[in-house]
Subunit: 376 residues, 2 copies
C-alpha cells in the first residue's frame, strides 16, 4: 500500500458511510427515521414525562408523549429490519416492515402508563428506579397487525403458550443487556394486542419504538416492548430480569416476601387543571382532568374541594382502553389555600386508595391525586 499527502485544501470531504457502533449488533441509519434531522446520538436511555401542553387533548400528541426506555434507542434501519417469530413453532417466520404493512391492520385508542408513574409522591425512593412525577401517562391511536395473526402464521407447537418479546435496544444494566418481556397464551390470542407500526396515524418515532412495538391495551408500559425484533414461543415460563426481578409488586407480609406480577393499569385519575401552586381568582372555575383503568371503563369520578366528595361530569373515552375526561365547576368561597382531590371508580367497582400502597419497587401508585392552589 502506498500513500501521499492530499493537496486539496478546501475540497469537499467524501460523504461518510453509515456507521456501525462498536459492540452493537444494531446498524445505524445516517438519517433518523421519519423526518428526523441530524440529532446527537444518545448513549444513555431517554426517560421523559408527557409535556404539560400535550395533556390538554384527549389524544396525546406523539411529540409530547412520555418516554420510558431501559437502554439507548437503537437507530434501526428499515431496509434491514425484520421481525422474526421463532422457537417452538412449526413454521418459523419473519417479516420485513413492508410485508407487515401489507397484512390486515387494526387501529385502537389506548392509554399507556408507566408502572412507575407517581413514584415521586413517595418519600422512600428506590435506587435504580426513576422518580416519575404524575405525567408518565398518555393516550394515543395505535395501528398495527394483531399479534395473533403473526403467531398463527408461524403455527405454534402444542403447549408453546409463553410468548417472549425482545427489542433491538442493547446496553448494560448490570448483567442485563436486552429488554425482554413475555405474555402468556390467553393474552397473546387477544385480537387487541398489536404489533404496532403507527402512533397517531404516523410511523412510530425512534423513541416510541420505531419501526414496531407491542401494544398491550389495558396493561402498564413494561409489556409494550419497543423496537421489537423477535417473538419467541416456548413451553416454560419466561424468567428474564424485567419479568421476574422487576415489574413485580413485592411486599413483606408476616415475615414472608410476597411477589405478584405488575399487569393491568390500576384505576387512577389526575387533576390537570388547575395546576399545582396555581393562583385562582375567587370566581367559578372548571376543574378538569382524566381518569383511566385497565380493568374496564370509568364509571364515576368524584372531586373533593374540602366539603366531601361530589360527582364530576364524565366524558367517556373512545373504546374500552381510552381514558375518560372529567370536569367539575368549582366556586371557591374563601380566599387562601385550598386542595382539590380527585378519585375515580371503574366498572369493576375498584377505586383509588387515599394513601399510596407502597411496595418494594413502588409500582402501581394510584392513590387519590391532590393539587394545592391559592384563592386570591
Amino acid at each position: 500500500m502506498t500513500g501521499r499527502p492530499a493537496h486539496r485544501p478546501g475540497s469537499r470531504a467524501p460523504t461518510p458511510s453509515p456507521l456501525r457502533p462498536a459492540g452493537s449488533s444494531v446498524r445505524l441509519a445516517p438519517a433518523r427515521p421519519p423526518g428526523g434531522p441530524a440529532s446527537p446520538v444518545r448513549i444513555d436511555a431517554l426517560n421523559a414525562e408527557t409535556a404539560p401542553a400535550a395533556l390538554r387533548t384527549a389524544v396525546t400528541p406523539a411529540r409530547g408523549f412520555f418516554v420510558r426506555s431501559h437502554f439507548p434507542a437503537p437507530l434501526v434501519r428499515a431496509s434491514s429490519w425484520t421481525l422474526a417469530v421463532t422457537g417452538e413453532v412449526a413454521r418459523p417466520r419473519s417479516w420485513t416492515l413492508d410485508e407487515l404493512r401489507t397484512l390486515p391492520q387494526s387501529r385502537l385508542v389506548a392509554t399507556l402508563e408507566c408502572a412507575g408513574n407517581s413514584r415521586k409522591r413517595l418519600s422512600r425512593s428506590v435506587p435504580g428506579e426513576l422518580p416519575w412525577g404524575d405525567h408518565a401517562v398518555g393516550t394515543a391511536v395505535w395501528k398495527g397487525v394483531p399479534l395473533s395473526a403473526l403467531l398463527e402464521a408461524a403455527a405454534p407447537l402444542p403447549g408453546a403458550e409463553e410468548v417472549v418479546f425482545t427489542g433491538a435496544d442493547t446496553g448494560s444494566a448490570g448483567p442485563v443487556r436486552r429488554f425482554s418481556r413475555s405474555l402468556t397464551g390467553d393474552l397473546s390470542q387477544n385480537r387487541d394486542v398489536l404489533v404496532a407500526t403507527e402512533m397517531n396515524d404516523a410511523p412510530l418515532s425512534t423513541d416510541h419504538g420505531w419501526p414496531a412495538r407491542l401494544v398491550v391495551p389495558g396493561w402498564y408500559g413494561m409489556a409494550w416492548v419497543k423496537w421489537l425484533t423477535r417473538i419467541q414461543l416456548q413451553h416454560s415460563a419466561f424468567q428474564g430480569h424485567y419479568q421476574a426481578s422487576r415489574y413485580i409488586y413485592q411486599y413483606h407480609r408476616d415475615g414472608k416476601v410476597v411477589r405478584e406480577p405488575v399487569t393491568r393499569l390500576r384505576v387512577k385519575s389526575l387533576v390537570l387543571s388547575p395546576a399545582p401552586g396555581e393562583r385562582l381568582a375567587r370566581r367559578p372555575h372548571v376543574v378538569s382532568g382524566r381518569a383511566w383503568s385497565g380493568s374496564g371503563p370509568i364509571r364515576k369520578v368524584e372531586v373533593n374541594v374540602g366539603a366531601g366528595w361530589t360527582s364530576a361530569q364524565l366524558t367517556p373515552g373512545n373504546g374500552p382502553y381510552d381514558w375518560s375526561g372529567w370536569e367539575y365547576v368549582w366556586s371557591p368561597e374563601q380566599r387562601g389555600r385550598a386542595t382539590v382531590r380527585v378519585r375515580a371508580t371503574d366498572a369493576t367497582g375498584a377505586t383509588q386508595p387515599a394513601a399510596p400502597e407502597e411496595n418494594d419497587f413502588q409500582y402501581g401508585i394510584n392513590s387519590v391525586h391532590s393539587v394545592q392552589v391559592t384563592i386570591a
Copy 2:
C-alpha cells in the same frame, strides 16, 4: 366552598398554567426556549454523541452537537432568569438576559470535548461514568460577554481569586444536587472565557445551557458550566464534588494515590472518513478527519496505513481554539482488511500515545485513533 358537576361535555378545557415541578426550585416555561415544540419533559439527564452527519463540517451544527449533562435540563424562564455575581465582592451584581445582551460581546470558534470521550476504547469501564465512543466532541461559534467584564463590574475583594460557577440544573447524584465548578484567578481574567448566550449565531438550546453557559476555550467540557445562574467569588479553593472528587486524573503509583485536575484538551485526532467497518474499492481514497489540542495549534498530523507514518495535509482552524482538518490520499494496493491510524502533534510538541493512558475514571483518553476497513 360549594361545587356542582359541570354539564359541558365536549367543552374546551381551560388552558393550564405553567407547572412547577414538585421539589424543584426551577420554574418551568410552558413552551421550550427558541422555537421548541411541546416535547416530553425529561426526568433524567441527556447524554448523546455528536451525530455522524454533523461531523462533516468544520463547524458542528448545534442540533447534532454532543450533549453531556449531569442532571435533567432545567427549563429556565427567560423573564425570571438572572445571573448573579456574589460572594467576596464589593458590589454584588446580577444581570437579566436582556441586560447581558446589551454588554460588549465576544465571538470565537472553539472545540469542545467531553473529558470522558473515547472511554469506550478501554476494556475497564467505570461504574457511574458514561461509555462514550469517540464522538463526544464538536466545534461551534460561541458568542457572549467576557467573564472578566462581569467580574470587574462586581469588584472582587483582594485575594478573592477562586470563582465558582453553578448551574440551574438539579437532581440527585448521590449526595450531590447541583453542578458547580471553579476557575482560578488567572483563567477567569482571560478575555476569551465567555458567559455565552449564543452558539452558532443562535440562542443556546436547552440542552446546550440556555440561556447562558460558560465557555472556557481549550478546556474539557466539565469547565463549560451550563444553565449558569450564579458566579461566586471566594478566597479558598473550591472543593465541590465535580471539582475535587471527579474530573481528576487519579493514578496509583508506588503505592500512592496521585491526583491531578483535568484541565486542557489533550492533543487528539480522529479519522472520520472512512468509517469503521466500511468497504472500499481498490482505488485512491481521501482519508480525512480532524485534530485538536487545548495547548496550541496542531502542527502535524500523520497517517499510517501499514507502511509507517506519513504527513497528512492540514487545514488550519479558525483561531487558536478551533480544530484543524486533515486529508490524506490513500491508494490501497491489496485487497483485504486494512487499518488506518492517525496521530497529531501540537505546537508544544505533545503528541498522542500509541495506547490509552488509563486512570481511575478514564479521563483524557487520547491514544492514536484507528479505523479498520475492508478493501474489496
